[in-house]
């Protein structure tokens, strides 16, 4: 069983801004442990001869030339914003959260 306990889950939940109650934390600690173990078994399948990879497709250097493309107008950019002011997104003061 992987070493993932209730405190780890509570910590991750806080980092990810997910509100979880005591029961959910307990349940998730168990479920996550199983998932981590499953991932571990994949790691075991790959020997030292398999290089570490961050991407499933063997592609590199997918680039775009430095040419200006389309943009939104401020109105379009703000069309889904809950609140705006002076053509800018309006958000609550956020110092306390940082």
């Amino acid at each position: 069983m992987a070493a993932i306990n209730r405190d780890d889950v509570a910590h991750l939940a806080q980092l990810a801004h997910i509100e979880m109650n005591a029961e959910e934390l307990d349940r998730m600690a168990g479920e996550l442990a199983v998932i981590v173990d499953s991932v571990k078994s994949v790691s075991e399948a790959a020997g030292d001869d398999v290089p570490r990879t961050s991407h499933p497709i063997p592609l590199t250097n997918v680039f775009r030339e430095d040419v200006v493309g389309h943009t939104f107008t401020a109105e379009q950019a703000l069309s889904g914003a809950p609140d705006s002011d002076e053509n800018r997104f309006k958000v609550p003061a956020i110092l306390d959260e940082a």
Binding site: H11, V62, F89, I94
Partner: protein, 502 residues
Amino acid sequence: MSTDATLSFEEAMEKYDPVLGFEVHVELNTKTKMFSSAPNVFGDEPNTNVNEVDLGMPGVLPVVNRTAIESSIKIGLALNCKIAESCTFARKQYFYPDTPKNFQTSQYEDPIAYDGYLDIELSDGTIFRVEIERAHMEEDAGKLTHMGGSAGRIQGADFSLVDYNRSGVPLVEIVTKPIEGAGSRAPELAKAYVAAVREIVKNLGVSDAKMERGNVRCDANVSLRPHGRERFGIRSETKNVNSLRAVEHAVRYEIQRHAAVLDSGEPVVQETRHWHEDTRTTTSGRAKSDADDYRYFPEPDLVPIVASREWVEELRATLPEPPAARRKRLQADWGYSDLEFRDVVNAGVMDEIEETIAAGASATVARKWWMGEIVGRAKNADVDPGQLGVQPATIVELNRLVEDGKINNKMATEVLDGVLAGEGTPAEIVEKRGLAVVSDDGPLLEAIDAALAAQPDVAEKIRGGKLQAIGAIVGGVMKATRGQADAARVRELILEKLGVEG
């Protein structure tokens, strides 16, 4: 806001040994953003240089800007770094409204450039080597303006307004290794290091390098330890110190503050500090905490960057002469003393002098004009000397007028003022202001005019070609000047005046 206790800098230096570290963010001047084709332009209307990628809309895919990669490799090479054969992007997760995706695309375990160094020259010529840990690529965040509460500060703000124009602008973050051994030169070294990085990226042409626009931003880490102890003290990180002077002042202040904390027997708090230019002090930001757990993982939407050695060498071949090497070459070419050259560099007219010499002036003449005349005028006008409006050709022309004896030095400065006032070229101004006179001839010409006016019939004869009649006019002039005029010169001037060939 309470004021922190400080020790005098001298006392702090007697008791403690400072260790520095810098993170310098350089905004690249690509035409478009790091991962989107929206324009990378400063100062436009809010939220108009954005598209769906910059706003972090669901389902969008980033695509890497090739030019940004090349600029990053160039910066790495100029910092004497190794360039990674292969590297990846990573997601740095945090919640803050400047980042609409809730993560910043950055690099983590494998930066594009690593293990470099910069040799920094201090004001007395001492060379100090700063080791570079890494230079990695990432994207800039949007700009927050805090509204309400105490003007513009986040403390007490009621709400914030966000402009995402800067979101996604390509950044290269340059991180030093811990810098030991700077001692009391630490503040000076801090300033010189950031100045050197700025100079390099400007010289490479990969950044506009304007600190006042945030193109180059510095976070300064400072810690103190008792002399002779190897283990580092606890550091503070002063954020966004955005002018060269501020870098020097911030490091100096933090050394003084840390020294007072340590003297009191307390540990230094590991935290972010905010620099305040008005009071030249820092205040506590937030303590390092769980919020710094960024849970980096490889960016699944971007494939690895592979920098073939051929590509790297191609880019290396395009690098301009490094600024330090260029300074050495120019000083030798121009034959300036160390002091003269340092003054030129500090006055910010090295490029202008180089152009003036290229335009045809001697090194001495170029320095005389820029240092002697233009720097002072620029200071009065509160602009950079290069922006005052003096062209290299102007100086070459002014100097020629002086050397040809058309005007003297005093008049030349007057002509320079005329050029700056937009009255035209030096020759035009000499003409307009009636300066094209060698001053010694002035009284002679007056006397000649008087003598010609007194004897109009003689003047007429001379015009008619009877040159022997000139004696009467010369005599009149000699009389008027009580014999102190050079008769041969008077004769010349009379003929010139009447337009007659001698």
